[in-house]
Each structure stands twice: as structure tokens, then as C-alpha cells.
């Protein structure tokens, strides 16, 4: 077969590629959440950062002038009877009392910062997309895929994992396709999620491979609390992602 300018387009004397089967299959796959932890470090800020209203009893002592009235009676011989009068008698007395004193006092605060860690995991899941007739022994695949990320894994400090896959668009998926990745500050990759389409005999398989190294983040969250240790549990990362992929696979063979 020749082109308009007489160039050879297909030389049928050479092995000719042709399609022996088409496989369409939808696969929903969830990449795992590998688990992790939140690490917290902190120190007491020292008095002066926080105040609290406090009441306490204090023992207050001192000399006080204490007066009292006393009835004093004497026998009056002139009247031959007892005559009574009331007299005011004062004295200095050392006395102690308990007094309730209230007010704001300086207390220690807690200066804390937190980071997340993610545990390492290697996980692979292989799906059977379909098969061609037994004995075909295909030579190659042409793959299209239309992918949707229905749930995106993320990190509290770094946000959603990056993906270069255009959501819902039909793209070439022959070989291996990087679905998601995540990087440390400075550039090294610590997480990858890859889908590969390949042949095993007459069967077409899709492999979803998750691989992540131990991730030890940077201390990013900081808080000064006047009321005890802060709760950082909200920082726990959920790195699980869910993808739904429509595979469109053309299974090919060369003529002999």
C-alpha cells in the first residue's frame, strides 16, 4: 500500500500489525492509607505569657487595739450597797486571721509544635481486564484510559497529592502511568502510585502499585496554650486515594 507520493505506507511482505481484540473494563481502585502518627514537642513558656484568676487564703497577723465594755461593781459603804458602772477597757492584742485574696496571677503556658509521620508501605493490586481467544498470543497493546480521582489523599501540611492526570479525559495509557506522587521539601519523592497495563499470555492485566517510604515531616503546626497540652489529633493524615478508570485496550498482533 502506497501513499499519494508513492511512498510505502504498508509493506505487506513484512509483519503487519493488526488488532485481534478490544477489551473495555472499568476498575475502581482504592490506594491504601498506610497509617501514621502525630509527633508533638513543646516546652513551658515560663510565667508571664498566661494569667489566671486565682483566689487563695492568706494568714494575716498584727497588733490590734481591742476594746470592750466591762461592768465593774464596788461596795459603797456610805450607801451600804453595791454600786456598778460600765467601763471601756482597751488593750493591744496580737491577732491572726485568714483572709481570702483574689486576683490575676502569672502562670506557665505551653508552647507546642507538631508534625505528622506516615508509615512505609509497598502494596500492589492486579486486576484482570479481560482475555483474547486462547492461542492468540498477542504481541502488543494499545491502551486508552479515562480516569477520575474520586477521593484524593492529602497531608495536613502539604495539601492534596499532586496528579498530572486530566480528570475524565481520554488519554494514552500504554505501559505505565504515574497517577499520583508526593515529594519532600527539597525534591525527593516519597510516594508514588502507578498503573500499568500488560499482557500475561492471552490475558490483559492492570496493576495498581502503591509505594511509599517512611515520611517524617517538618514541625509546622505551632500553638501557645494557657490551658494545658493542645490536641493535635486533627493533623492525622489520610493518604488514601480512590480512582475509577475506564480501560479501553486494543490487543494487537503482527502477521507472520
Amino acid at each position: 500500500m502506497s501513499s499519494q507520493s508513492n511512498g510505502v505506507v504498508f509493506d505487506t511482505d513484512t509483519p503487519m500489525p493488526h488488532i485481534v481484540g478490544v477489551i473495555n473494563k472499568y476498575v475502581a481502585h482504592t490506594f491504601p492509607d498506610t497509617g501514621g502518627d502525630v509527633k508533638v514537642r513543646g516546652f513551658l513558656t515560663g510565667a508571664g505569657n498566661c494569667r489566671e484568676y486565682d483566689c487563695r487564703y492568706e494568714r494575716v497577723c498584727g497588733y490590734e487595739r481591742v476594746c470592750s465594755y466591762e461592768r465593774v461593781c464596788e461596795y459603797d459603804s456610805f450607801f451600804d450597797r453595791e454600786v456598778c458602772t460600765t467601763e471601756r477597757i482597751c488593750d493591744r492584742v496580737y491577732q491572726c486571721d485568714r483572709e481570702r485574696i483574689c486576683g490575676f496571677v502569672d502562670i506557665d503556658g505551653y508552647d507546642q509544635s507538631a508534625k505528622t509521620v506516615v508509615y512505609a508501605k509497598e502494596h500492589v493490586e492486579r486486576y484482570t481486564l479481560g482475555s483474547v481467544e486462547s492461542g492468540t498470543n498477542p504481541d502488543f497493546l494499545l491502551v486508552y484510559l479515562t480516569a477520575n480521582r474520586t477521593k484524593a489523599g492529602s497531608q495536613n501540611a502539604r495539601g492534596t497529592f499532586k496528579t498530572a492526570i486530566p480528570n475524565g479525559r481520554r488519554i494514552s495509557g500504554t505501559g505505565s502511568t504515574l497517577l499520583e506522587s508526593a515529594y519532600r521539601v527539597g525534591g525527593s519523592t516519597w510516594l508514588t502510585r502507578i498503573v500499568s497495563v500488560y499482557l500475561v499470555g492471552n490475558t490483559v492485566k492492570a496493576e495498581f502499585r502503591h509505594s511509599n517510604r517512611y515520611y517524617d515531616g517538618e514541625y509546622t503546626e505551632n500553638t501557645i496554650s494557657c490551658f494545658g497540652a493542645a490536641d493535635f489529633s486533627f493533623m492525622n493524615d489520610d493518604i488514601s486515594s480512590r480512582w475509577g478508570i475506564d480501560f479501553e485496550v486494543y490487543v494487537g498482533k503482527f502477521t507472520t
Binding site: 508501605k121 509497598e122 493490586e125 492486579r126 486486576y127 484482570t128 500475561v200 490475558t203
Partner: protein
Amino acid sequence: MIKVRIVSTAADLTSNLTTVKAEVLEPFGEMMRVKDVVELEVENGVNLDDGELEKLVEEKYGR
């Protein structure tokens, strides 16, 4: 006579444990229909091919 078709195999590469998900098919007139969907955990199953896994599921299912 049942037939087993592997749907997926999942493995944590650090634990040597493979989870096999498979459809169990049975004759239905001139067709086959899915009778059951089963999951089986296989130790050291990473190196087994589909044929071996299908045979394993068939054996376990038949019991």
C-alpha cells in the same frame, strides 16, 4: 462443574500475603453465570500465576 476466574490479586510486598478475589462460575444453559465471588488469602502467593491461583481457589471452594 465450576470454573474460577481471577478478578484481582492484592499483596503487601512486605508481608508475603496475597489476597485473591475471584469469581466462581457455573454452567447456565449455553452460558456461564457468576455463582459466587470469593476472597482467599494466600501466603507466599506473590509468585503464583493465575492458573495456580485459580486451582487453589477451586480446591478451597470445592471443600
